[in-house]
């Protein structure tokens, strides 16, 4: 939680100044702005859509809007990042609404290849390594199941879980992004977590896998 690597340092230019320069044709200013904010927007779209391609499309459209219409962002109305989140949120909702006509195929858990290029049964030559590998695989499975559960949440619940639980935003930041009161964020988040527990119940109750697979505590 609380991870926020894109906080601007004291010597860095503010977003509004970067955007003003970018609108005047200063590409380096635009590049700095893009590098600062493409990560959070891409991750938000990734968590919301569950598809890297869709997340890339949403990120692209979000920044394209700033390129084509630099005047849409008014620094007097707030910071640039919440504005970008708002734009990305609209694109995500459009995309989800458009794609709701289609039925998604059941997704298989992605298999992560061993990093040393060997086959998995050859990569671990002692018992402790094998146990680590098994734990790692279980962690991956747990995360994959959690992501599937988050993707099955209604959009307004998915948004608060993504912003607060996955991206580490505070309730007030999330309220600013979602343009709703903090109390609404709090209640939605509570309800979303209850729903997630229900969705994960078959796995969590019999063997308490989230705890057992070393996902923390």
């Amino acid at each position: 939680m609380g991870q926020n690597p894109e906080i601007a340092g004291p010597l860095e230019l503010k977003d509004a100044e970067l955007l003003r320069r970018a609108a005047e044709g200063d590409e380096s200013a635009f590049a700095e702005f893009y590098n600062r904010h493409n990560g959070p927007i891409y991750r938000f779209a990734l968590h919301m859509t569950g598809s890297p391609d869709s997340a890339a499309d949403v990120t692209q459209e979000t920044f394209m809007l700033l390129v084509r219409e630099p005047g849409v962002f008014d620094p007097r109305r707030g910071e640039a990042l919440p504005f970008l989140y708002g734009v990305a949120r609209n694109f995500v909702r459009q995309m989800l609404s458009r794609d709701s006509r289609f039925v998604a195929l059941p997704q298989a858990m992605p298999v992560v290849a061993p990093t040393n290029g060997q086959c998995s049964h050859l990569a671990y030559d002692d018992a402790s390594s094998a146990l680590d590998a098994w734990e790692s695989l279980s962690q991956q499975e747990s995360i994959w199941r959690l992501r599937q559960a988050i993707l099955s949440l209604p959009t307004h619940y998915r948004e608060v879980v993504t912003l607060c639980d996955l991206e580490g935003k505070t309730y007030s930041d999330a309220a600013g992004i979602l343009d709703c009161p903090v109390g609404t964020v709090r209640s939605r988040l509570n309800r979303a977590r209850d729903l997630l527990l229900e969705k994960l119940r078959p796995a969590t109750e019999p063997r308490d896998s989230l705890r057992a697979t070393g996902t923390g505590s």
Partner: protein
């Protein structure tokens, strides 16, 4: 505390968002005494850990390169033409200013020249070809007389018209430019140059028309 109250705050409890210590103690006491709520506490804790882990696993993810390529391509498409257009406009302005200065210089010179002329007769014509000039002077005595009486003809007498250039009339506006050039350069203008003397520098006056092209050349000895 009952189970319903516990369920309301279990997520805050596991995320250390429950700042009321008394309430926290009562919730933990209830979990100790209720197996169902204890299990719920465990599950909520596992969920909190899993979401944190899932968030951390992708916290450095960035948009793929193709997004940057598309966005910056669009940025350049929108901003570069305006940039280039500004440059072109600057150069066009500089060229126009240079042309205006040159035109002003030529105009002043021609006015000064026309004031200098007293009772100037009909303008003499610079012949395109010196040989032809000789022939025509013998063939046309009237023109020869005109040349002889013309002050302009004296001025232009030593000038030899540049081959392939347009005909030049002494009444046409022009200016004389003093230059130093090689004989080879004279050769490029169509004059005959002796072999081996191509690199030799000569001083010359070039009669330049209003369009900037040379009309005649006078070699200064």
């Amino acid at each position: 505390m009952n189970c319903a109250e516990f369920n309301e705050l279990v997520h805050s409890l596991v995320r250390y968002e429950l700042l009321d210590i008394d309430l926290r103690e009562r919730a933990l006491l209830h979990a100790d005494s209720c197996a169902s709520c204890a299990a719920r506490l465990g599950n909520a804790q596992a969920l909190a850990d899993a979401t944190e882990f899932a968030g951390t696993a992708v916290c450095t993810e960035k948009a793929p390169v193709r997004v940057a390529a598309a966005v910056f391509g669009e940025y350049r498409r929108i901003h570069r033409p305006r940039h280039v257009g500004t440059q072109v406009a600057k150069w066009a302005l500089a060229a126009a200013a240079t042309f205006a200065l040159a035109f002003g210089g030529w105009f002043g010179y021609s006015r000064w020249q026309s004031n200098d002329r007293v009772a100037s007769p009909a303008p003499a014509r610079v012949n395109r070809n010196p040989v032809e000039a000789n022939n025509s002077s013998t063939a046309n005595p009237a023109a020869q007389d005109a040349n002889a009486t013309s002050a302009d003809s004296n001025l232009l007498a030593d000038f030899e018209p540049v081959p392939f250039a347009d005909d030049f009339d002494s009444g046409d506006p022009a200016m004389i430019v003093h230059v130093q050039l090689t004989r080879a350069a004279l050769g490029k203008l169509g004059y005959q140059v002796e072999k081996g003397k191509g690199k030799e520098l000569v001083n010359a006056d070039v009669l330049v028309g209003v369009d900037g092209w040379p009309r005649a050349v006078r070699v200064v000895q």
